[in-house]
């Protein structure tokens, strides 16, 4: 599971891990595994999302989406994204199947032609509907795809400045992601992703993700209401707001079948 934008949802029942002598790499991985564990087995989830995209030069556009997620055993998951706005592409649906080995497949349903098409994997790291988020941010981001390293502990970024955070470095194992590494802030108490800085190969910051408005659902799962991705160079930014978050609404594997993509939902 865990698209990055949902990783910001991470939740927890467990207390912080017992402290022992471990390398920064081990410590980083342990924290992330802990976070993953806290978010596991949420069953299914539906939510509405709105993206306000600003290109940093005065241009602004809005996208509205409906998202459905199904958590399956292991790393496997299903996700379905339906476009509500802009109206020319309303009804367009994106389906992602992530297998247990974290490989994934994606399809798009085009309502005007009434056809479903596969999407090449090359598109995963590209921008999603003109936003600062990548398609990748919306699809599976399993722990296996990164190397981690615990960097330091410090106070969390505002507005959670009262809390202590772990800062963890995340380096993608594959190339073509558009960044060389990330620095991720997670609070120690709940292991929620609060902030992520993206760096290029020259170690220049290119993007920053901020997650705000965390709320707990089902007495367990934390979800942020607002995610803001800002581009440090172009001044562009995208604000992604979640609303109407519903857990365990009874979605089944069959709801995420490719040949059912066209049916209205």
């Amino acid at each position: 599971m865990k698209p990055l934008i949902l990783l910001a949802f991470c939740a927890g029942l467990l207390a912080a891990l017992p402290v022992r002598a471990e390398s920064p790499d081990e410590k980083g991985l342990a924290i992330v595994r802990d976070a993953e564990k806290r978010g596991e087995n949420f069953g299914d989830l539906r939510a509405d999302a709105e993206m306000i995209i600003r290109n940093g030069r005065g241009g602004e556009a809005r996208r509205a989406l409906k998202i459905a997620l199904l958590d399956l055993p292991g790393s496997a998951s299903r996700s379905l994204t339906m476009v509500d706005a802009p109206k020319d592409v309303k009804g367009t649906a994106l389906l992602t199947h992530t297998a247990a080995d974290s490989s994934d497949q994606q399809w798009i349903y085009l309502p005007a032609a009434g056809r479903t098409k596969r999407i090449a994997s090359s598109g995963r790291s590209g921008p999603f509907m003109g936003s600062e988020f990548s398609f990748d941010d919306f699809s599976a981001q399993t722990v296996e795809r990164y190397r981690f390293k615990w960097l330091r502990a410090e106070t969390c970024p505002a507005p959670l400045a009262a809390e202590q955070c772990d800062v963890i470095e995340r380096v993608p194992k594959e190339s073509g992601t558009g960044y060389a590494r990330q620095e991720v802030w997670m609070d120690q108490a709940q292991r929620r992703l609060l902030k992520a800085d993206y760096y290029d190969a020259q170690n220049q910051r290119i993007k920053t993700l901020m997650a705000e408005g965390y709320r707990q659902y089902e007495g367990r799962y934390w979800r942020a209401d607002r995610l803001t991705m800002s581009n440090a160079r172009s001044g562009a930014s995208t604000v992604l707001s979640w609303s109407n978050i519903r857990f365990r609404s009874g979605l089944k594997d069959a709801d995420f079948e490719v040949n059912r993509l066209g049916s209205a939902r």
Binding site: G58, G59, G123, G130, Q202, R233
Partner: protein, 753 residues
Amino acid sequence: MFDFVLGRPRRVILLALVLGLLCAAGIGGLRYNGDSRVFFADDNPDLLALQALEQRFSRADTLVMAVAPADGQVFTVERLRAIRQLTDAWSHLPYAKGASSISNYIEARSDGDDLLAEPLLPDDLVGADLAAIGQRARADERLRGGLLSERGDIAGVYIYFELPRNDPEGELSRIGDAVRAEVAKVQAAHPDLRIALGGILMFDEAMQQQLLRDTSTLYPLCFVVMTALLYLFFRSASATFATLSAMVLAVAMTFGLAGWARLAINPASLTAGVIILTISIADAVHLLTTFAAERAVGADPRAAMAASLRVNGRTIFLTTMVNALGFLSMNFSDSPPYRDLGNLVALGTILAWLLSISFIAAWTQLAPPRVSPSALRQVEIVKRLIEWVITHRRRVLPLALALITALSAGIALNRFGDNYVEFFSPRVQFRADTEFINERLAGMQFIEYAVEAGGPGDVFEPAFLRHIEAYSDWLRQQPEVRRVASLNDISKRLNKAMHGDDPTQFRLPDSREEAAQHLLFYEMSLPNGQDLTHLVDLDKSAIRLTVLLNTISSSELEAFDRRAQSWVAQNWPADLKARSSGMSALFAKVARSNFQSMSTGMLTSCALIAALLIWLSRSLKLGLISLVPNLTPILVGFGIWGLTVGKMGMSLAVVASLTLGIVVDDTMHVFSHYGAARRRGATSLEALREAYADVGAALWVTSATLVVGFAVLAWSNFMLTVHLGLLTSLILALALIAEFVLTPTLLLWLDRD
């Protein structure tokens, strides 16, 4: 004041040095502006149009690499690997935000009943059917004349950068170095590839390199030439040293003050130093010539310098002010670097004048130079020349006037316009590479049109798309056009792929929903580093049409744009507009607008100078006569330029103002002496002989210095500077001739008793 200078020379020199070094310390604060847009004023309407376009779409700081295999075979495993390596390099190049080439090109096609938008090249090149891929690529109209040459024998790799522009100088060098290192790596592994680098970013980088080169070649060259000339004239190490020290100090102070003011320099304004060095020597020459003459008749150093300051003080003050006035009128230019150049030179000449009457005057008290009597021999030559002109004046004057008329007619042959590629001499790699790319891969000259469709999503309206298509079709039929690129290329291609690659379906979709959804699908398939923001704006309410052109002159480009605009006016509904912009269009128009705005500056300074000459000679008639030898060299100079070179770039717009200020010097020296003699009751012939005996030699020396000094600029690789130097040099040489041919004959003809 002069008593203090001559009485306490040590203190004066120390004071000058301390003040000079204080000013010069600012040099460290000089910034460099390598942006190609530095040549345009902030309120230039074409620049505003371009900025508006970039506001809607993305600003592309693009770097083009043309990868040319010796045998023209692009589609082999080895060559494609090299292209892939260069393309993928973007992810570790500084400030890069993406790249496109055939290596990451997403091809839309159908496979059986399925629509595919997949990479043209598979990850595994060895197992792929490269011949078939090559065939598809060569047939793909979106690749031709861009990512792949028309003949399919050269591939283009385009890398897009987004510069923070906090430290343009450092950013540009970092990109340049990183790109060259990457190219060297690929070149080492594939010695049979030629990789040419072009694009606006390379232009900026080339400008920066030429700035460094100019600093390290023009300045030393100018210094050596000036030393040689001064020594030749003075035959005195002391006089040469004092003059050079003062002038170098003036240049250092000028750039130091510019640094304190946080001015950004570029290759155009950098030439200020050479010009200051050249122009300011005149003051010292006049001062030291009189000083030597006084010494020769037995005066002590203090009396000799006091006499020299008395004789020359007013004239060198006035000539300095007139020079500065000419340079300041360069502020009428539309190009900020030339305004900076004018202001820097004006400041420098005033500083040099101050140093002449303080530093040099004081120096003569400490180490009185022994100036050789060679100056006297030169006076003899001048005297004989003037006598010859006077004797033959009835033949000389008509001949001169006929020549002036004939040569001035050449002005009409000049054509306005700058082509940014031709800013650099053919010796510069950037120019060779860009010409190669332009000829073999893709047109480097282009016009861009931004077309507003109305509201969000309206670019998908079939009626709008059909208007764009009709315009594109018309554009493609024009002889100047090589290629038209717009969103329609993708739309048509997707529609065809959607319908089983049926060639009859290579057309626009029927509904806006289809068009929008096809495009969304295609966008979703694009890899990181590629997007469509350069073709369509964020809320899909406007599109950008890029028209790549053959190499055409600026006036042809302007004519083409006018034709295109009138097609739009006739064939499109009134609410649909295609606003043209782009760097080529900007450079095409800037020279003409520079000349137009500079003509105001020229007339202003002309009027002021005429008024000054009238006042100086205390005679309306003399003042008006004196305009002739001042203006004809400029007319004849531009005429000869039209007959020989014929191209007028923006740098030449300032030449008239620049030279007018300098040419007037000579006339002022002659006329002030002539006028004085006339007022004492001398006949015009006597007054003429006296004036030339007084200043004739100094005229030769200062003019020779100026002609040679400006000619030094021809050693630049920056053609704007080369042309500025050559034309100025030519006009100043003509001015000297005019001073010895026109002035005496005109005076004898018109100022009779």
